[in-house]
Symmetry: C2
Subunit: 311 residues, 2 copies
């Protein structure tokens, strides 16, 4: 067994994924919890990191910590400026923000260059570049990371050159929890006829170009007996994911590398497949840990012997 080299934390808004990695990015230990940066109650990030380091110290020794995601936002530990695209691993490694010199670094997020519409990411960049570093995806291609805010990133020469974020998952949650469609969205969401109907409506252009009408139409279709209320959630999911996919302008000949959990992976896979594009599933955990290890390998010469916690 190779020696532990670092603790990598994918520290998002709601959840946190913690990995003890060796220098090759192999996972020696892992733990997930719900202490994202928007978790209720006060948050002392330094104390949290000290506790995490302490938790693994007996088995793996005192380790440097690399944290990525919303922990580097204004709502996190410290606001780390966005790095503009194009950006690869070398640029990211050079822009790490040391909150505890030699002990804990935060990965900067990325922003699009200022020539077009603004866009930002925090955390996804480690997955994207890690997938390339691990050979899970080619150095040039289109990648999709579904979620609350779905990211579509272009990679060229192993760097992230451009990306676009859509509010797909957040809008679905808003509609289900707070809108007039809520009572019709109590059913399950899975890849099936209702989901595919929503995707097809979106890809046909009448929903992607007129989402505001398509959404009201869900309610009208139930009131008019044209759709079962039990199918509402799956249909709305299909409309939104279909609109997300339609806006990418995919078609036969395109390949999308999809980094997703099983549930969203199945939905996005079906919607992307409906355009004729090819879907390649990528293990997003393996991508993240490879990215963290690749960043660490670029800075390990800079990391002095680790200071004891709290010094």
């Amino acid at each position: 067994v190779s020696a532990a080299a670092l603790i990598a934390i994918d520290w998002g808004s709601t959840h946190r994924r913690i990995y003890v990695l060796d220098g090759d990015g192999d996972v020696l230990a892992r733990r997930h919890d719900a202490r994202g940066v928007t978790a209720p109650g006060p948050m002392d990030h330094a104390a949290d990191v000290a506790a995490i380091r302490g938790e693994f110290q007996a088995a793996h020794g005192a380790l440097p910590v690399l944290a990525a995601g919303m922990v580097g936002s204004a709502r996190g530990w410290v606001e780390v400026p966005y790095l503009p695209c194009p950006a690869g691993l070398d640029a990211l490694a050079g822009a790490l923000h040391w909150v505890e010199p030699g002990g804990t670094a935060i990965v900067p997020g990325l922003c699009r260059d200022a020539s077009g519409p603004a866009d930002v990411m925090r955390g996804e960049e480690v997955q994207l570049l890690g997938a390339v570093a691990a050979g899970l995806v080619p150095a040039d291609g289109l990648m999709c990371q579904p979620g609350t805010h779905c990211k579509w990133a272009r990679l060229a020469g192993g760097a992230i050159t451009d990306f676009r974020t859509r509010m797909t998952g957040e809008l679905f949650a808003l509609l289900r929890q707070h809108s007039l469609l809520g009572p019709m969205m109590a059913g399950a969401v899975a890849d099936g006829p209702a989901f595919r109907d929503g995707v097809a409506a979106a890809l046909a252009g009448n929903a992607a170009g007129d989402l505001l009408a398509a959404l009201f139409g869900v309610r009208a279709a139930v009131l008019c007996g044209q759709r079962a209320a039990a199918d509402g959630a799956a249909y709305v999911s299909g409309l939104l994911i279909g609109s997300d996919v339609a806006a990418q302008g995919l078609g036969p000949g395109d390949t999308v590398h999809l980094l997703a959990d099983a549930s969203l992976g199945a939905l996005y896979g079906a919607a992307i497949g409906a355009t004729g594009a090819r879907v390649v599933a990528v293990d997003s955990e393996a991508a993240f840990t490879a990215g963290a290890a690749a960043l660490f390998s670029r800075i390990s010469a800079q990391v002095p012997p680790l200071l004891p916690p709290h010094q």
Copy 2:
């Protein structure tokens, strides 16, 4: 002064507008309140109507009541089936639902025919057909009724032949109250540079066809310093209203008859004007009261001498 002929109630989800009208639709008295069908607490519609009738009885006598809107929905007094388009005043008058024979009738809502996407309205049909009856709009044309659910209706030969509803106002409220954009949507919404920027982005097609990305882009633009957070609400309003207008495919040579309050009227007027189409403002209260009076004139022969309340 001509004699009172009826009480007309525009009875929506959240509000209720009550008018005492003479046979020509002139308003002899009016009152607005917040007892819409979704008002908190128990609602006894019959008792409410008896109280309203009693309120005006001393000055105007015992009057028949014509109620339109969500009062005729499953969440209202009684669910009145939708009448399919095309529908004009004669069809509506023939399908009134008498909840208190000779005393109180509910106007049915309309649905699109089953050949295309489903859509429904309740209450707007009285305004639309009343506007024609009062000569406020031509018998053939395009009408727009902004609101929580914005309606766009085609009239031909004085009948409503087709319409489309968009969730524009509801989505704005959802985003402001419950989304990650909320903190950037605390500012005022008015027709100004930020609103016009949103409209322009929507009309340029990159937002209307990709609203999910345009919405996330609002947050990104603020984070990247490209837009002031104080302008967020006006910009999002411009994006949504612009997307609503863009989906209509308007251009120079088109005329839109706009039935709206002053605030939404200014916003929709600016967005419609940006397409090159002509905007004609229509008094929506005058349209409703004219519609109610026109319906009443078609059924007054059927109305027997009014029964005393509560009999």
